[in-house]
């Protein structure tokens, strides 16, 4: 099959979204279904088909999502309604939109520069509950309640940890 000439191809745009919380790293397939589900539920099947959404890649904490040119706004609104993926609570924060995947990959490389890790203890006690520090960068610290099940992730700052 001969490829379609560039002038006859549809113009596409790519949206870069950060996956919160840090370290979630969802399965790309699960994220694909989650994004499809929110687009369809918010805009319907007809508009969903026009948006032509697809998760192209999940690279670390970032996802590249494709759409048809001119439908970026609808896609970004739908992405802000993503609340879970694979049973985990997540949020997608739109960072940038571009016409090429390459430029978004360059953007990811620039964003993923190592952040100095502050000196924090591996464990802490929050309101009498022992928690393990699972991620920290700058002022932000995420801790997970220690236990076998029903462990909750808490979102704190360094000051909270110092005061606890």
């Amino acid at each position: 099959m001969t490829p379609r000439p560039p002038t006859l191809r549809e113009k596409r745009r790519y949206v870069l979204a950060r996956i919160d919380p840090h370290g979630t790293a969802p399965d790309p397939k699960e994220l694909y279904y989650a994004v499809h589900e929110v687009v369809t539920s918010l805009w319907g099947d007809a508009a969903g088909a026009l948006i032509h959404v697809a998760v192209i890649a999940v690279e670390g904490e970032y996802a590249i999502v494709r759409c048809r040119r001119g439908t970026e706004r609808e896609l970004v609104i739908a992405l802000s309604t993503v609340i879970s993926c694979g049973g985990r609570h997540i949020a997608l924060r739109t960072v940038a939109a571009s016409g090429t995947i390459e430029s978004l990959r360059e953007r990811i490389a620039a964003l993923q520069e190592p952040v100095p890790v502050p000196d924090v203890p591996a464990e802490c006690t929050i309101d009498g509950t022992t928690c393990a520090v699972c991620w920290c960068a700058g002022q932000k610290i995420d801790v997970i309640e220690k236990g076998f099940k029903n462990t909750t992730r808490f979102f704190l700052t360094r000051e909270d940890l110092e005061n606890s």
Partner: protein, 213 residues
């Protein structure tokens, strides 16, 4: 003009500390937050104001809690109910916001309550939580209610506020996302800007300039 998320629930009501919510709000483009049951403070350049949300309690209890909230200098929000309750709440001194309107029926907020909200400078809360978290029928019902509120807002010009009702930093959204989600309801950018800055206005008791033909 202060860009304010008019209702968030930090720990222990949610899973994020107020400082973390303030830090996240700063990154998302907000200048201030109304945090429920949290003393007023300022973190990372974000002003945190005390919020009180009064639930479905009897009228006398509402009156008592509004008075307590007013004494604390809090932004007082009262959960909407049926038409009679809404009229009672909108006539009460010290109430700043009527929230949870998306859960009420079509007759709960009409032209009379709209006029009362305008006269008393009480804002109607447009919570984005049902738009973000809702799916299917529940979201459609919420959007329908918001369309109706918007129709009355355009006629009577009562103040609107927009809130995320976030219980986690993951539920918080940026100003641009607020604007996008509000456009689903039918609010355009100037309306959103006005709604995000209305908390300061309703607290000071000033009403927006109205053109009376």
């Amino acid at each position: 003009m202060m860009i304010t998320d008019s209702c968030v629930y930090p720990r222990p009501l949610g899973d994020s500390s107020v400082k973390r919510m303030a830090l996240e709000a700063h990154e998302l483009g907000f200048d201030s937050l109304v945090a429920v049951n949290t003393p007023p403070c300022e973190h990372f350049g974000v002003t945190v104001e005390t919020g009180v949300v009064i639930g479905e309690v009897p009228a006398q209890e509402v009156s008592r809690e509004v008075k307590l909230g007013r004494e604390r200098g809090a932004v007082v929000s009262v959960l909407a109910g049926d038409n009679g309750r809404n009229r009672m709440v909108l006539g009460m001194r010290g109430v700043h916001i009527l929230c949870g309107i998306h859960r009420t029926d079509r007759h709960a907020f009409d032209h009379v309550t709209s006029r009362m909200a305008t006269d008393n400078s009480i804002a109607i809360d447009i919570s984005l939580a049902p738009v973000i978290h809702g799916r299917g029928v529940s979201r459609q019902k919420a959007l329908d209610r918001y369309h109706d509120i918007l129709l009355l807002h355009r006629r009577f010009e009562f103040p609107l506020v927009i809130s995320s009702h976030a219980r986690s930093v993951l539920d918080m959204r940026s100003v641009r996302e607020f604007s996008g989600l509000a456009s689903v309801i039918g609010l355009d950018i100037p309306d959103v800007e006005q709604a995000l800055s209305n908390v300061g206005m309703i607290r000071s008791g000033q009403s927006a300039v109205r053109v009376i033909p």
